[in-house]
Amino acid sequence: MKKLDISIQDLSKIEGHADLDVKVRGGKVKKVNIKFTDNKRFFTQAIKKRNISTLPQSVARICGTCSIAHTMCCIEAIENALGVKNTEQTRLLKKLTMYGLMIRDHALHIYLFSLPDVYDKDSVLDFTGKEMELLKDSFDIKRAGNKLTTVIAGRAVHAPYPMVGGYSNTPKVDEIKDCIKELKKARKRLFPVLDVYYNTKIDYERETHFVGMVNDEFNFLDGDVASSDGLRIEEKDYFHYLDKTVLPYSQAVGYKFGHDTYMVGALARLNLNKDALHAKTKKDGAKYLKVFPSNNIFHNNLAQGIEILHAIDHSLEILENTKFKDEKPIEPKLKESEGVGVIEAPRGILFYRLSLDKEGNVKEGNIVTPTQQNQVNIELDIKKLVQENLDKMTKDEIEYNIEKLIRAYDPCISCATHFLKVNWDTK
């Protein structure tokens, strides 16, 4: 095909709203614009003057599916600003909160959004037979993730228990027993979908940079930021490496790492740090782990599945070996300060930088979300996919494959369009 115009409105089976324009002239892809069309809700402005007592709950409303990640990253930034050290129990509760999020959020994506693509069906609503069994597996897995976050953090969406300095609730013994039971059931039901994604071969590769946090237990909360070309930086310095890219057609800005486009998310984490996964995950997932490192974005689905397994395994270890006691959150001492929070949200690195006044009110805030960081990389992948298939596929087939590729990234548009205004005075 020498000339082609593709315009996809309101992509389906993703979180939020996005359109896509592709222009091909003279057999060359001239333009790929993915437009995040959710209206901005101006959170960066809205959090100004807000007190830290309500801030973690306020930012949860940036995104329904990643709400817990926003709450946890915001708390980390405040705690770093005010020098609050967590107790060992709070550290464990934070890990469990993140694991519950990963289980539920990843399962939503790999089953309800991406699995229909494997079977060339429009929706899980069209599933029958073996496919329907997989869908039923997803319900048990998502339920277990929900249960874990509800017991530990109060609710799976906009969790109320995590706060600066600790948790406002202690999980009860009976609740933990229920959680363990559900997580064990979910673990058994996970392997069929791992096999499906492992056996689904999609011939696509593009070299890019992968960026993610690395630590020795793959806990989504701690560690330095590493890149696939060997760079390792402290989380507080992360923002200095980001290069903002204004995309005039999108309600979100994009980012480059240094001058390079990059990918964050489960695939990046597996590429950079798979040795740190839980021992049981490495044992039972050995076959799947051989796939990584990978330059194939479609392996992001398998990577998310493996992260569910890891989240279950480490949660079970913590829940079976911990006696939680009542503990009051540590009261922070307010002061004029600045703090950075960096965590691994389901879709990749989430960054918060907060400047506080002496009353604990926000003077300035800066938030960088995973999908913003992936936006330029998504466009480059689409460009390659279209270019390689111009003479092999029909327009409809190209469109369908573009949609599959975008879904493999698991973009979260609500996060990406919260509105970011980067005017940070570092003097």
Partner: protein, 159 residues
């Protein structure tokens, strides 16, 4: 084939927390709903959606642009009942937080409001169309939602 309740699920300006709750409700209600609900327009679950002839449209999110208002009116024309889902649809907050910005912050966002053709003020659904029922909460109150599904199944005589 047994008659099913033809439903639509839509989202406007919001964090889509109620959409997430909706997908989580499938964990426990899928088999029962699959028999009685026709998921005619649910973009979060399918690509091929049909707007015409809906029995009930469940709508989350606030209305932040003329384009959204126009789409909402089109949904209203194509459904028999329209339900506002979650806080942003019911009372516009927190998506309408910019309505309360001080002049300094208003000025900061002014160029973006113009660039992306956004409305001056964010509205709740009821400010734009007739709303038949409301499910409040941030995210939506699950029990109230389930109660409403039951109510409409009866009202539309779905067995």
């Amino acid at each position: 084939m047994e008659k099913k309740l033809k439903i639509g699920w839509f989202s406007f300006s919001c964090c889509e927390d109620s959409s997430i709750v909706f997908t989580e409700l499938l964990n426990d209600h899928f088999e029962e709903w699959f028999k009685v609900l026709d998921f005619q327009y649910v973009r979060i679950l399918k690509k091929n959606n049909k707007l015409e002839g809906l029995d009930v449209a469940f709508i989350e999110g606030a209305i932040a642009s003329r384009k959204e208002a126009s789409k909402l009116k089109k949904i209203r024309e194509n459904c028999k009942k329209l339900v506002a889902i979650g806080s942003c649809a019911v009372n516009a907050m927190p998506s309408a937080q910019r309505n309360l910005f001080d002049p300094e912050r208003e000025k900061e966002i002014e160029f973006l409001i113009e660039k992306f053709h956004m409305a001056k003020k964010v509205k709740k659904l009821e400010d734009v169309v007739k709303v038949d029922d409301k499910v409040p909460g941030c995210p939506m109150d699950e029990d109230k939602f389930l109660e409403l599904v039951g109510k409409y199944l009866k009202e539309f005589k779905i067995k």
